[in-house]
Structures are given as C-alpha cells and as structure tokens.
Amino acid sequence: MENSSTMSKSAVKISLDLLSNPLCEQDQDFLNMVTALDTAMKRMDAFNQEKVNQIQKTVIEPLKKFGSVFPSLNMAVKRREQALQDYRRLQAKVEKYEEKEKTGPVLAKLHQAREELRPVRDDFEAKNKQLLDEMPRFYHSRLDYFQPSFEALIRAQVGYYSEMQKIFGDLTQQLDQPGHPDEQRERENEARLSELRALSIVADD
C-alpha cells in the first residue's frame, strides 16, 4: 500500500518540479501544459489516497482482526498439548504399574494412578473436542469473511483507474495529443535527436 503511495507521490513531484522551473515563465504553452499536468497529478494523488483509505477499512482492518484470533487459538492448542502430555505421562505410569507384579502396594499404587488418570484424560478429551469442533469452523468462516474484502479490493481498483483514465483522457485531449502508436513515437524521438545532433555545438558520439 505504501508503494502505491510513494509511486503517486513521485509522479506528483515530477510535475511539481517542472512547474517550479523558470522556463514556465518564459513560455506560455509550456506553462499551460505543465500546470495541467500538475493538476492532474495532484488529483490522482488524492484519489490514490482515497483508495488506500478505503482498502484500509475494508481489507486491512478485517485482516488484522482475523489475525488477532490466532494468538488465542494458539494458546488453546498449547493447553491441549499440555493436557496431552499429562495424560500420556499418567498413562505411562498406569501401564508401568500394570506390568509389575501384582503385589499389594503395587496394586494400591495402580489404583491410585488410575484415579489420577481419569480426570486428566477427560480434560484432555474435552479440550481436544473443543478444538476439533471450533478450528474447522473458524477456518471455514474465513471463506465468507473475506469475500467482501476481495470484492472491495477489486472495486477500489476499478474506481481508481476509471478516475485515472478520465483525468488523463481529459488532459491529453486538452493538450491536443492524440494517441500515437509506439513506433511513431519512437520515430519522433529519433527525429528530435537527430535534429539536435545536426547542430554543431552538440557533440556527436
């Protein structure tokens, strides 16, 4: 986004500097042309700013909001992970006791371990289920969530460029410059250059 702003600003600078050049005072036509260009550029810049603002509202901010859910999601996942660890740990303990000889103390410990395990397991499963439910929903919601943003993006572009076309169309019409094909333009440039070179004060190289 800043890129398009800088681009727009540099375009404005082109015309601004031209305007400040003293040549403008001397040559009326040139002055007219440059003033017109300057106006056009400034207007374009204003539109660009507007476009940026709009996009900010309709795309960037929703994006940020969407993104801000992720930390919470991550934490929930972490908690689940922890629950899983504890679950596993206790599970291992239980299994360890189960494998030992069934003596009294062992059995007692086994029982105890099982008791400990139960709540932990339930807790883990609850967390797991929650995430399993919620995460896909969340992920899915992005589809609907972002549709309008993209639409807005496209519209913003359309708006901006239609303004641009209008402005520059007027400008070129005002300055009476029909659209030449590129080869013609190139030829004209070549012609100008050779005119200049024809002067002996211009070095040939």
Binding site: R79, L107, D133, E134, Y161, E186, L193, S200, A203
Partner: protein, 671 residues
C-alpha cells in the same frame, strides 16, 4: 540583349572603333573560351566524382563502412547537385547570345545549394585526411588501395585517395576564379556584367562561409567532448603552458571582479545562456524524477499478493487473483517498458546532448578572458603575436557559433521536452485504460456488481460487522480458561481434617500446598504437596506478605505464599462466560455442596489383612475396597470402615493405599 561582340570581326573599317572592335572581339573570344573552360571542367569534374563514388568506393570493400562514410561523406549529394548544375550549364550553351547572363543567373540561383552541400563535405574532409594517415601507416592496406585507384583512375598518381578526395574542395574554390575570368572578358556596359559581378561575389561569399563553417566545426568538436579525466590524468596534463594560460585567465577574471577592467557584457549571449541553463535544469530534474518514479514502480510491482496460496476456492478471490496476475504480468510491465523506451531514454539522450553545449559555454568564458586580455594588449601595444591572434579568432568563432546555434538548440530541446511530457501523459492514460478494462471485466463477475458504490460500501460494512462479531466469539472461545479437572480425592484421614478446618474457618480460607514446603525457621512448617491448610493471616509479623500463617489442623506456622493455592472443596459452578459444550460434571467425585459428609472413596489395599473379629474384614493385597467411613465408631482414625466383597468391616487405615500426592489440577492459563 545585344552584345557589342556580335559585330562581324571582318568589318575592319578604319574607324576609331576598330581598335575597340578588335579588343572587343578578343574579349569575346576570351569570354567564350572561359565559358567553354567552365563547362568542360565541370564535365570532367563530374566524371571523376562519379568514378570515385561508384567504382572506387565499391572496390574498397576491405574498409569498414564507417570509414567509407567518413572518407566520402556526402559525395553523393555533391554529385547530385553538380549534375543538375552541369545540365543547366549545358542548356545555356544553346542560347548563345544570352549565355553569359544566364550563367550568371544560374550561379546566383545555385549558390546556396552549393554552399549547403559543399560545406558539409569540406568540414569532414579533415577527418578523412586523418583516416588516410592511419591507412598510410599500414603499407599492405596502402598498396591495395593504391592498386584499386590506379586501375580506375591512372592519373590519380601516387597520392591516390587524398588526391581524389580533395577535388571537390578545389572545385568550389575554382568557381569564383572561373567567373572572374569571364567577368574580365566582358565589357563593363554589357547587361550581363552586373549579374556576373553579383555571381562572383556570391561565390566568394560561399567560400567564406564554408571556411567559417569549417572553423566553427573544428572549434566545436575540439571543445564539446566532455572528457572524463581522472585526477591523475588531469595532473599529467598540466605543463607550463597550461599553467600560464590558466593563471592569465584567473588574473583577468580577478581584475574584472575588482572592477579594474571592464567586462565585456554580451546581453544577447547572456540571455541565451540563461535560457539554455533553464532548459538543461529542466531536463535534468525531469530525468531524476522519472528515475525515481521508475524505481517506485519497480518496488510497487515487487509486491505480489496474488502469488500466495489463499486456499479459498471460488468467488471474488479468484477474480482478484487473476486480475492482479494479469496486471502484474502484462499491463504493468508493458507500461514500464514503454515508459523506459519512450520517456526515460529520450530524456537521457536529451541530457547527454545538452552536455556538449554546456562545455562549450564554459570554454567560451575562458576564451573570452583570453580575448579581452589580447584586446587590451592590442590597445596598448598595437600588435599581437600569432598565438594571441589565434586566441582572438578562437573566441570569436566560439562566440558566433554559440550565438548562432543556441537559440535553435533551446527551441528544439523545449519542443522535445514538451513531446516527452505528452508521451508520459498518454502512457498514463493508456495504462489506466488497460487496467480499467481488465478490472471492469473482473468486476462484472462479482456477485454485487449491480450495486452502486455507496450501497456496496454499506453492504461491506454490515458484513464486516457481522463477521466481526463472529470472530470475537471465536476468540472468546479460544481464550476461555477451561475449568480444571477435579481435585484429586483425598485420603480419608485428610478428608476429615479438611472438614475440621472447613468447619472452623470456612471454605474461602482453605489453601492447598502446591509443592513440598520445607520450613527453615522455627515457625516454618514442613508440608508435603497436597496438604490442605487454612489461612490465618496473609502476612507475617513483620508485614512480609509472602509468608502466610496457616493452620494445618494440628500445627500452625508459616509457609511461603507462593506455594499455596486456593483450595476449592465445593464443585465449581459454571462460569459466567458462555460455553458451547457441556461441562462434564461427572469428573467431580465429590458430590454436591455440603462439605460435611465424608467422601465415599475407593482405595486399594496395600497389605493383606486377616480379620480377627466379626467387625473386621479380610483384605488382600491390591484389592479394591470401598471406604465407607474413615474412622471407627469411636472416632478412631486408625480404623476405617470398608466394604469389600459384599462384606463390611473394619480394617486398619494404614493398610489402605496412601494417596500419591494429589497433583494440583488447577489449570489456569499457562504462563
């Protein structure tokens, strides 16, 4: 017009005119001869030229084309002009009476064209000579050239190419002489006389102009080259001569600054220079700005959101991605390319072209200082040396060259600059057109295409508001702290103790030890993990709030506050936050709120026990028993009432499994 020369030469009457007649006839004869000579030499000249241009040039294939261009420069134009000239000359031959007059007129008509064509040739002749010198140093090449020339024009002689190339120069200088000859042989009161006179002076002017042009070209080419010299090279160039030159100039400048010497003010030149300066400033600035613009365009294009895989099928996203892709791959690069070719390149060429004149202007100032000094000397001394004379001429040549050509330069540069600007604008417009076309195509495929802009915005706002709510709810879900699983059931004995504490202090004062505390001081307690204590005071006698005074039911002492956690006996109620899944109450093994009933637990018997009376019951190691009461009828905690195998009886409490320290299951937010 009748000419006196048309009298019959045979009429020799003895009149005083006789002599005049004879001389008139002689004049006429000479005139005719001169005319004849003019035409004949023109013919042969043209013939030689044609041979040069066609046969010799085409045979000299081993030379590169560039060299050939330098050698022969615009010989074709010369040939063209001269052949027309010859044709017209030959025409005049048919009109005997008026021939001289016609010839005079012809010269007057053609002299401008001649000047135009010959001055170019003459100006590049020096370069051709230099080139020939380089050839002469290669004997092999020289011999080849020589043999070619001798094959075509034997009379060229040993000097070969240079002999041939100088012929046009010789010719153009010959014209005034030939005309002069005709003039001499024309009677002054002939009608052709004034015409001839004008023709002669015209041709002489042509020659002067050609010389002047040549000199200017020399001066220009000497000084326009902007040389990039390193400091070392510059130092190497210093010698006494240049040093003296520069010091003289500097002193002259200082004298002017001090007002000792008047400065030559040339208003015309100054105006021109100022304008030129503006133009070049304009060009430079524009060039820089366009460069910056191009850079920003590059940066803009680096950003490619559409290349990231968004994994959102269908809908506007696809449209957007394809739109941006098209723009990135086609419209913008095309625009950039055109911008570079049609705006940036010309600007660079223009800027470069302006560098030469800038140099010349600088040089002119230097030469001006020289010139002024020489003028001074002239005034004082009355004569100047050759070098000084040269300096004067150089300055004058430079000055006149600049004055003549700067206006044109300024104008051309301005015009071009204007064109470049217009191109820039046109390019922008075309870019907008293309993008718009493509974007509108995409827009048409969007669901809300038909909506007007404000309506669409409202729609988006609403949609975003809704989804915002949804997001918030998601966030809350993820954030809520899941209630911890129940506290581990306590040992029967501990349970009783808890009840006692509870009844004495109330539920909100009960804390559980989270990890083993080993007391260091006399009043500190040593407690195992999981022990339940009641809080008496949340700071010690010195006011240290990290040591709390607690009651274990038997002892009182201090424990670090960090190791205590609030112990909840009652099952936790649902929290205020909305929950989407049912809270599993079944994990709580403690039943409903009342804290008094001892918990019915299942424990494992650690040791076997043989019942010795009917009140007791036998146990096997590892057997699961249900504890009904954690004390016997007399309240002795050493015996517990248990049920096992459908039998009830007392067993020693110590034979029952001690709980492993109940881990605190409070699961707050992980830190």
């Amino acid at each position: 017009m009748a000419e006196p020369g048309t009298d019959e030469p045979s009429s020799r009457t003895g009149s005083p005119d006789g002599e005049g007649q004879v001389s008139g006839e002689r004049l006429l004869l000479h005139q005719r001869l001169a005319v004849r000579e003019l035409i004949d030499t023109e013919l042969s000249y043209l013939h030689v030229l044609r041979l040069c241009a066609s046969d010799i040039r085409s045979s000299l294939q081993q030379l590169p084309q560039r060299d050939l261009d330098v050698l022969f420069s615009n010989i074709d134009d010369v040939i063209e002009v001269n052949s027309r000239f010859l044709h017209d000359l030959q025409e005049t031959a048919s009109r005997k009476e008026e021939q001289v007059h016609l010839i005079g007129n012809l010269f007057l008509e053609c002299h401008e064209e001649l000047e135009r064509v010959y001055k170019v040739y003459c100006a590049s002749y020096d370069q051709a000579l230099l080139l020939l010198d380089t050839y002469r140093r290669e004997p092999e090449l020289q011999r080849e050239i020589q043999s070619i020339i001798e094959a075509v024009l034997p009379q060229a002689g040993p000097s070969g190419l240079s002999f041939l190339l100088v012929i046009p120069l010789q010719r153009i200088t010959k014209y005034p002489l030939l005309l002069q000859k005709i003039l001499e042989n024309t009677v002054p009161d002939a009608s052709a006389y004034p015409v001839l006179q004008r023709a002669v002076s015209a041709l002489q002017d042509v020659n002067t102009n050609i010389n002047e042009y040549k000199r200017r070209k020399e001066v220009a080419s000497k000084y326009t080259k902007v040389e990039q010299l390193t400091l070392r090279e510059r130092l190497a160039r210093l010698n006494t001569h240049t040093l003296s030159k520069k010091t003289t100039r500097l002193s002259q400048l200082l004298k002017q600054e001090a007002g000792l010497v008047p400065r030559t003010e040339d208003k015309e030149f100054d105006d021109l220079e100022e304008r030129f300066h503006c133009v070049s400033l304009c060009v430079t600035e524009m060039k820089n700005n366009v460069a910056v613009y191009l850079d920003n365009l590059e940066a803009f294009l680096c950003f490619r959101p559409q290349e990231y895989d968004l994994d959102i099928p269908g809908g506007p996203v696809v449209q957007y991605c394809s739109l941006m892709r098209d723009l990135q791959l086609q419209a913008f690069p095309y625009f950039k390319q055109r911008l570079k070719g049609l705006v940036w390149q010309p600007l660079c060429s223009l800027a470069k072209a302006l560098a030469g004149p800038q140099n010349l202007i600088k040089k002119r100032l230097d030469k001006l200082l020289d010139f002024e000094r020489v003028e001074e000397k002239l005034l004082e001394v009355g004569s100047v040396t050759y070098e000084e004379q040269e300096a004067r001429h150089t300055y004058q040549a430079l000055n006149s060259l600049l004055v003549a050509e700067l206006p044109q330069l300024n104008q051309l540069a301005m015009r071009w600059l204007g064109q470049i600007l217009c191109t820039f604008m046109g390019l922008q417009r075309e870019l907008a057109q293309q993008v718009l076309q493509r974007a509108e195509g995409s827009l048409a495929q969007l669901p809300h295409y038909h909506l007007s802009e404000p309506a669409f915005r409202k729609l988006v706002e609403d949609a975003l508001g809704q989804t915002g709510h949804q997001l918030r709810s998601f966030q809350e879900n993820f954030e809520k702290v899941l209630p911890p699983p129940t506290v581990q059931p306590l040992l029967p004995g501990a349970e009783r103790q808890v009840q006692a504490l509870l009844s004495r202090y109330g539920p909100e004062k009960l804390y559980q030890v989270t990890s083993g505390v080993s007391g260091a001081g006399t009043l500190d307690l040593t407690l195992p993990r999981g022990q339940i204590v009641a809080l008496l005071q949340n700071k010690d006698t010195r006011g240290n709030s990290s040591r709390w005074l607690v009651d274990t039911g038997g002892h009182r002492g201090y424990v670090p506050a960090g190791k205590l956690e609030l112990y909840r006996v009652i099952p936790r109620q649902e929290e205020v936050k909305e929950q989407e899944w049912p809270h599993k109450d079944s994990r709580h093994l403690t039943p409903a709120p009342v804290p008094s009933v001892p918990v019915v637990t299942q424990v494992v018997a650690v040791y076997p026990f043989v019942a010795r009376s009917s009140h007791e019951v036998s146990l096997q190691a590892g057997q699961l028993v249900t504890v009904l009461e954690a004390q016997d009828k007399k309240g002795n905690p050493e015996w517990s009432l248990v049920e096992v195998n459908e039998q009830r009886g007392y067993v020693p409490s110590s034979f029952l499994a001690r709980a492993a320290s109940p881990a605190p299951w409070g699961w707050g937010l992980p830190s």
